[in-house]
């Protein structure tokens, strides 16, 4: 009997504890003041707090070692990790940063950056960046909007890339940037790494591609100029404002001279808060157009590519390649809890040999969930449907994060 009585007491205590937790949950949500449709369970709030404290908020403010969890291109797998170290010298005047990482599919990278970000009272930033990378399983389906899914192939891409860059900010939200860089003779190899999907080598499937006509890929010199207006309230989890950008870039084959070209880009992302910021409508459009001299061609690893978790989510990563590309994304996010959003989205776009042929014929739709802090998205799970079926995506970044814009090196292969 005594034992039963003790169990009853414990049950009553547990029930009371549960009641207190529910009460506290409601109170906790009120305290944060963040917009959401429902009061957030404490376990989520504390999980986000722990993640922020342990992993940082994604900014580069803190000195010392940090976990390098990003900095891998699309296709690397759902997670990558490695050590990083950064240090600010002379107050906030000079930044030295270095990191290395390995991903789920054994993509590897090492990078180092040196930057003077606050010259001329923060109006001028200059820096240099070097990166070595070994991308073991980059997918390629052939050129053009009608490339076949059945022609899926993979190649391994190893490269060393170095650039110097400068950004002028006459006003806080306007950046005029320029960079010059060198891509040292990249290697195109047989696919390798972990969790291989058994796809054939690109060299076997597309043996007649001009890229494989030479034993070694040339080195490239490249340059870019850009103008960016950025009024987003946060970079990694924006809920208001917008980003509008135009860029002109070129790359020059330093060996044979046949793989040289130019590229023009226009991009806009706008975030509209609705219902007291509990709903955010995100709109994004991006047009890229390439041009070459007569007789020159653009190797597939320089070509714009469409498809995957940041562009057309119902299609595979790098699904379509061609000289020109257009994509439009519309996404509505609903703040279920303070740190959890539900999302519905639609993506549309295409690639084409000529800009005038671009359309929005490739489409995908879907729903998703986002786990985020106030400053950045920690994780997302998207279910997307397109003409080639369903895709389930788990990533550790926001689809419209536009993190590629903060990269200082030319993106090779082109990473949307």
């Amino acid at each position: 009997m005594a034992s039963n009585h003790s169990i009853d007491q414990r049950l009553v205590r547990l029930a009371l504890a549960g009641l207190l937790t529910v009460t506290a949950t409601a109170a906790g949500a009120q305290e944060t003041g963040a917009p959401a449709f429902f009061a957030e369970p404490h376990v989520i709030t504390r999980g986000i707090d722990a993640a922020t404290r342990t992993l940082g908020d994604g900014s580069d403010v803190k000195n010392g070692f940090y976990p390098e969890l990003s900095n891998m291109p699309t296709g690397a797998g759902w997670i990558s990790a490695g050590p990083g170290y950064r240090y600010w010298f002379f107050g906030d005047q000079m930044l030295v940063d270095g990191s290395a990482a390995i991903s789920w599919r054994a993509y590897k990278m090492a990078q180092a950056r040196f930057e003077l970000p606050h010259l001329a009272r923060s109006r001028l930033a200059i820096g240099t960046h070097v990166r070595w990378q070994d991308l073991t399983q980059v997918t390629y389906f052939g050129e053009g909007p009608d490339s076949l899914e059945a022609n899926r192939s993979e190649y391994r891409f190893k490269s060393t890339n170095i650039a110097a860059y400068a950004t002028v900010r006459p006003i806080r939200w306007l950046a005029i940037g320029g960079r010059v860089g060198w891509l040292d003779s990249p290697s195109i190899l047989e696919p390798a790494g972990s969790f291989q999907r058994g796809n054939p080598s690109t060299q076997d499937v597309f043996a007649s591609d001009p890229v494989f006509a030479t034993a070694e890929q040339p080195s490239y010199g490249y340059r870019e100029a850009s103008v960016t207006i950025d009024t987003r309230n946060r970079r990694s989890y924006p809920t208001a404002g917008g980003l509008y950008r135009a860029a002109w870039s070129g790359f020059t084959d330093q060996d044979q001279g046949v793989f040289s070209g130019h590229r023009s880009e226009a991009e806009a992302a706008h975030f509209i808060p609705l219902s007291r910021s509990r709903v955010v409508l995100a709109l994004h459009g991006w047009l890229t157009a390439s041009d070459t001299a007569d007789g020159d061609s653009i190797p597939f690893y320089w070509q714009p590519s469409l498809g995957g978790h940041n562009t057309l989510r119902g299609y595979s990563d790098y699904r379509f390649h061609d000289r020109n590309f257009l994509v439009v994304n519309v996404e509505a996010r609903f703040a279920l809890f303070t740190h959890v959003d539900a999302a519905v989205f639609a993506d549309a776009g295409n690639v084409a040999a000529h800009v005038s042929d671009l359309d929005l014929d490739k489409r995908s739709y879907g729903v998703g969930w986002r786990m985020h802090s106030r400053e950045s998205t920690f994780a997302r799970f998207d279910i997307a449907h397109g003409a080639e079926g369903w895709r389930f995506l788990f990533r550790l970044s926001d689809p419209l994060h536009l993190s590629r814009l903060s990269r200082r090196l030319a993106p090779v292969p082109f990473v949307p």
Partner: protein, 324 residues
């Protein structure tokens, strides 16, 4: 994957093995100046707990314009070093975007510790301030302001496990007080050894400086802090066994208080805190920017804990069920 595991495993193991902590024993630097943790507060009842031991003259002006010198590159919370119009430099600790403000907690606990005799640097709380940076002037989120003073030189951190005061009543009493506040972050990196110099003397002050993880629950990962609901709910003492007080403490370095704090230490700490008047308690919370109704709830819980500590004095065995 093996590489990922090998990277993560040592950190996880080190986090969960208390045996990784150093042995707890007294330790003294032979060439160091006299060491001081606590000075008996003869005038406790008269102390200005709102302005603290460094006084109103050293407080930051709420309406001044502060110039940012450098952003904070260490610790979890954001912050910056700023200079005021008088040329004084302040270290400002702000709240993170997703975390409760630690500044009020730090200032309250600092005020209470200094009132009862423990050394503290000059810290104050401002809810907001005017900041001038490269882009102009704007109103910035406030936080804990700590003044850089010439008489206090930061000489690095000191160890909870090995310092001159291990085994002394003020050392154990300090831990007892921190238990009362549910201070969860008993890490050496939160301790600062200050070299204090004045015309009359030079000594090393052993200061628990980063006190912001308190007034909530205890825990290693993301304990609730600055949360009066949680503070009211969270249990305090499990009982007394073998002459030692057992706490419901789940924070860092539980070995510091496990079978180390005696009922007499609780009574000593309780007697010290019990000398603070209601006016002084409210002043401490007012210094941290708390609304009176929230402060009263925190104070009510703290007084209950103080009374519980005082009641333990002299007991060798006690369980909360004994009360029934």
């Amino acid at each position: 994957m093996r590489a990922l595991f090998l990277l993560a495993a040592p950190a996880v193991i080190a986090t969960h093995l208390s045996s990784c902590a150093a042995e707890i024993r007294p330790a003294l630097h032979p060439d160091a100046p006299p060491a001081s943790l606590w000075v008996a507060p003869a005038d406790l009842e008269d102390r200005d707990v709102f302005n603290g031991p460094w006084g109103a003259d050293r407080a930051p002006a709420p309406d001044a314009r502060y110039r940012v010198l450098e952003h904070k590159h260490t610790g979890v919370n954001p912050g910056m070093t700023v200079r005021d119009p008088q040329g004084r430099q302040w270290s400002v600790k702000q709240s993170g975007p997703d975390t409760p403000d630690e500044g009020p907690v730090e200032v309250v606990l600092s005020r209470v510790l200094s009132a009862v005799g423990y050394h503290q640097p000059p810290v104050y709380y401002l809810p907001s301030f005017t900041l001038e940076d490269d882009w102009g002037t704007h109103i910035e989120r406030g936080g804990r302001f700590r003044l850089k003073v010439a008489s206090l030189k930061d000489r690095g951190e000191w160890s909870w496990q090995q310092n001159p005061f291990v085994g002394t009543t003020p050392y154990r009493g300090l831990l007892a007080i921190l238990m009362m506040f549910n201070s969860s972050d008993l890490k050496n990196s939160n301790n600062t050894l200050y070299e204090f110099r004045s015309a009359e003397r030079r000594e090393y002050w052993y200061v628990v400086r980063d006190l912001g993880t308190a007034l909530g629950t205890t825990g290693r990962f993301a304990p609730l802090k600055n949360n009066v609901d949680a503070f009211e709910r969270y249990p305090f003492i499990r009982g007394v066994q073998g002459g030692y007080v057992h706490f419901h403490y789940q924070g860092w370095h539980q070995e510091l208080v496990r079978e180390r704090i005696r009922p007499s230490d609780m009574a000593w700490a309780g007697d010290l805190l019990g000398r603070l008047s209601d006016r002084q308690w409210r002043a401490a919370f007012r210094a941290g920017g708390y609304a009176p109704e929230v402060a009263d709830r925190f104070i009510r819980v703290l007084k209950n804990k103080i009374a519980a500590g005082q009641r333990l004095g002299g007991l060798q065995e006690w369980s909360p069920y004994d009360a029934n």
